[in-house]
Amino acid sequence: MTPLLTTKGLSRSFGGLHAVRDVDFQLLPGEIRAIIGPNGAGKTTFVSLVCGRIEPSTGAIVFDGDDITNLPAHQRVRRGIAYTFQITSVFANLTAYENVALSVQRALIDKHQDRAPQKRAAALHRGVMEALERTGIASHRAALAGNLSYGHQRLLEVAMGLALKPRLLILDEPTQGLSDGEIESFIGLARDISGEATVLLIEHNMQVVMALADRITVFNAGRILAEGAPEEIRSNVAVQNAYLGTAADA
């Protein structure tokens, strides 16, 4: 199977700090991949390079067979890479509905769908409601995003990513700050999403990682330390030393 996403020798340094160093990475279509690693390991920098929020110092990124290294972020989104922010970044002064509508509108433009305004408006409404219902926040659609609870804002982030109809959905610590019940339903949602999109997940909660990931990539000090199926990673000594050993009790 050809990989959906490949990076070759991808590096990024800030001043003298090598945040991401020479990373070769492959992601197959349809899988759920978790990226784990201690704080400052370069996880967020790595996915930011993939989605184009920051530019690499060296290296190449290939998405679906095309080199996208030099594409601006918005064009990568149009090719199907969606990113949900680690620090919740919804439009606080717009309603939840309007937040998601911005995503749906984008997806509709790309599909060159129905030109008739009536049909377009209907398609927009359908798209928004679908994303809101799947993430379970449809009843809050009229609330200003800034007034939603923290957990609901996280879900709104996911809804906005989902509504873009992406081929690769990057979730940056989606369960951070969620309650146990919310985490449980998020796991269900992520499984559901993986039916139609490849999921790249940065996650600290090992319970979530073990429940979802087909494969796990471990970052440490800007490099890939290990990669494999969940059981392999769990039994990998280097990983235990670098990460699990310290985080397991937490």
Partner: protein, 320 residues
Amino acid sequence: MNRPVTLPIYALHAAVIVLLFLLQFILPDFHHGVLARVMVLAVFAMGYNLLFGYAGLLSLGHAMFFSAGLYGAGLAVEHFGFGMLPAFGAGLVAGGLLGLVIGLLALRTSGVAFMIVTMMFAQVFYLVTLYFADWTHGDEGFVIAQPLRQIAIGSLHFDLTQPTTRYMTAFLLFSIVLIVTLFIVRSAHGRVLVAIRENEERTRMLGYDAFANKLAAVIVSAVICAAAGAAYAILFGYVGSTFASVQYSILPLLWVLLGGAATTLGPLLGTLFMYYVVDITSGFISAYLFIVGLALILLVLFFPKGILGTIRDRWLGWLP
């Protein structure tokens, strides 16, 4: 409650347009003349509002777009013998081109730097109108002679120096721009502009080209302001560098802040209100600058959303 309400919005805007049309028959001469002028200046404010209110880009240099229209039309008549309609067109083209160039340059910056850069470009424009005094007559300016300010379409003949024709022309321009603005802010593009204002990074990560959207907003804003300037030249017949000075960059900001930024009808309300405040107070004290200054400070301190912005927050959430 989910999909935006449509009917009251159209009804309200239609009512405003009908009201302005009817007012010309009942207003006494003085106020009739004032309203014609206010409608033209409100077009200037609407152009400014599109950029400042909706896209969140605070420019301190919009005098250059207004005067691009003013001079574009005025010079075309004065030096190239254009008729009124082609001259108006020349004003629009001048504004659009200037908007394109300024947009490409100034949008490389943001925030405070954007304000300073736009102010400086406007200052350059102002100095240009002074320096090429052979063409522009600098500070003194020039007057477009009354016999030139006529429009003949087929057998129809309009004399733009007539108060009634002047009012109707200003009314027509205002109505068109109001409808265009309403259409833009309710379109997909308008929603993206608001999104950029609220959170540019997030908007980009939803797949929108923020730069292209902002550039489009600058150009449309410039063309609307130039339309006001060109209309001013052909309706009132005076073209001078005062209109390019810093003050005319501050005034639309004041009008929009007063009426309510990011509301379609706020610019008209703000312009009208300010015009009468200055007019009434000038009967007691000649302190025009003081009124403007005080109004600006009081607005940002106590009333940052302006008249319509506050009404929208309190009562009418659907106001566009």
